[in-house]
């Protein structure tokens, strides 16, 4: 059977979901002025930018935004080979005592988040690190969970979740590609 693609979030639904996530982030921070948001390269950075903009437009708060490229902290160099181009890691603030919300597009095995935690630890000692993801697809290989989840989906290991953001992909959408539907 050819792969079948279904849309689980269209542009409108994605916008609504991000708005809810922004609210939950503020709730989690409960008025702390130590909140910073750190997106994981690549699409986590765009999502982090959206969340920062939403918080600013609705609550008037300027939340600092950082970017993290976890390529050099991956544990699979020997199995999948190098990602040829390493993205930018940019944390323009001191991590000491901060409440960091890591933002990523999809939470799956948990290995990316593990790498992000390792990398953040090399930059400083935050007060707390929380995780916000647009999609949680299950299938964890490490004891890691998200504090804030946009959408939960339950799919087979052979399926793939694609997050599209208009900055990079000309549209906003979350789709699932089912490969072995039989």
């Amino acid at each position: 059977m050819p792969p079948a693609t279904t849309t689980v979030l269209d542009a409108k639904a994605m916008e609504r979901t991000l708005r809810r996530m922004a609210d939950e982030i503020l709730e989690l921070a409960s008025g702390s002025d130590n909140l910073v948001i750190v997106g994981i390269q690549r699409r986590g950075v765009q999502l982090a930018d959206r969340l920062v903009a939403l918080i600013k437009s609705r609550d008037g708060l300027e939340i600092p935004r950082g970017a993290l490229d976890i390529t050099l902290y991956r544990d699979d160099l020997q199995t999948v080979g190098p990602r040829p181009v390493v993205g930018k890691t940019d944390l323009p603030f001191d991590l000491e005592g901060k409440l960091i919300v890591i933002v990523d597009d999809v939470l799956y095995t948990g290995r990316t988040v593990r790498a992000a935690l390792d990398e953040l630890a090399d930059f400083g000692r935050p007060a707390r690190i929380a995780l916000a993801v647009l999609v949680d697809r299950g299938g964890r290989e490490l004891p890691i969970h998200a504090d804030i989840i946009g959408k939960k989906v339950d799919i087979a290991a052979s399926d793939r979740v694609d997050v599209h953001v208009s900055e990079l992909d000309q549209k906003d959408a979350v789709t699932i590609v089912r490969r072995d539907a039989a």
């Binding site: 190098p82 390493v86 993205g87 799956y108 090399d122 930059f123």
Partner: protein, 317 residues
């Protein structure tokens, strides 16, 4: 894309524009690591790298060692003096012994042209050429290219002149091969006794006078003049070399544009380059050194991944 450079980096000759571009782009990402408070990432944790130096070198060896350590690799330095190498062991035996100790990578500096390739063909570990005789010094070529790209924004159409002892320079060869592939125009300038005779066939322009080279070029890469070239009779004296071929402030002041000045080091101040040029506003000699670490990290990273088993492909999403 699991082996973008293949197993080894023996030279820049034969690498495609895409491959060179890839190393330079990857190096860009590694620059930032050296700016962190903790200058270390776990990328090559558990990997063993031997720095096998059959020739004295401080700069290149230290640069490689920093690159390796900042990627968390375990490194061992073997220098020719005091090693089994100086006891007459052949290179092939040295290679087999290293292999038997299950190392992952070898960085080799050797006085014979072709030695890095010789080693690469005989061991399974990745081999990186850190300078082989008068053949190539690919990571130096790459860091020169990265430095030029940083300053000019591109290499395509850039006019770069290599000045001095091209005949005996591995740096010159790597620059010629790499820059030409990237679309730069390359010239060489120096006394004809220190230029290869058939060099025109390598696709470079030859200038007999340094004044003409300065008039033409956007950047000068001033090569180190090995002092023993004088005793070997290639030039009459260092004094005369400086007077006729030296890159001096006075000569640069007459140029139609500001020239970027590169030098692979170590410099002979007052011979091939004057101090006020080396320390002047257009010198990027220290940027080269900084970029050297990033380029070497990129090369180590790209080659280490080349040993990946292609069992699981792609990102888990």
């Amino acid at each position: 894309m699991s082996a973008p450079l293949g197993k080894d980096l023996v030279g820049l000759e034969g690498l495609s524009r895409e491959q060179l571009q890839l190393v330079l782009d990857a190096a860009e990402g590694f620059k930032e690591v050296s700016e962190r408070a903790i200058k270390k990432v776990p990328t090559l944790r558990g990997q063993t790298i031997v720095n096998l130096f059959f020739e004295a070198s401080t700069r290149t060896r230290v640069s490689f060692e920093f690159a390796e350590k900042r990627l968390s690799a375990d490194t061992v330095n073997v220098a020719s003096s005091g090693s089994s190498v100086s006891k007459g062991e052949t290179l092939v035996d040295t290679a087999r012994n290293l292999e038997a100790m299950r190392i992952d990578m070898v960085v080799i500096r050797h006085p014979s042209s072709g030695a890095a390739r010789f080693l690469a063909e005989r061991i399974k570990s990745n081999v990186i050429n850190a300078g082989d005789g008068t053949h190539e010094h690919p990571t130096q070529g790459l860091l020169d290219m990265l430095t030029l790209r940083d300053k000019f924004g591109k290499l395509d159409g850039l006019k770069v002149c290599l000045c001095g002892d091209v005949l005996h320079s591995r740096v010159a060869r790597s620059n010629i091969f790499g820059l030409r592939t990237m679309g730069a125009e390359v010239a060489i300038c120096g006394p004809r006794s220190l230029l290869p005779g058939d060099v025109g066939q390598l696709g470079v322009t030859v200038f007999d006078r340094i004044e003409a080279a300065i008039e033409w070029a956007d950047a000068l890469n001033v090569l180190r003049l090995q002092l023993e070239r004088m005793s070997a009779g290639y030039i009459p004296s260092l004094r005369e070399y400086n007077r006729v071929f030296g890159v001096t402030r006075e000569r640069l002041d007459r140029a139609p544009r500001d020239l970027l000045i590169l030098h692979p080091g170590p410099m002979n101040r007052g011979v091939e380059i004057d101090s006020n040029v080396a320390d002047g506003p257009h010198s990027v000699i220290l940027d080269q050194v900084t970029n050297g670490v990033a380029v070497r990290m990129a090369v180590l990273y790209l080659l280490a991944g080349a040993r990946a088993e292609p069992s699981r492909g792609g990102d888990a999403r």
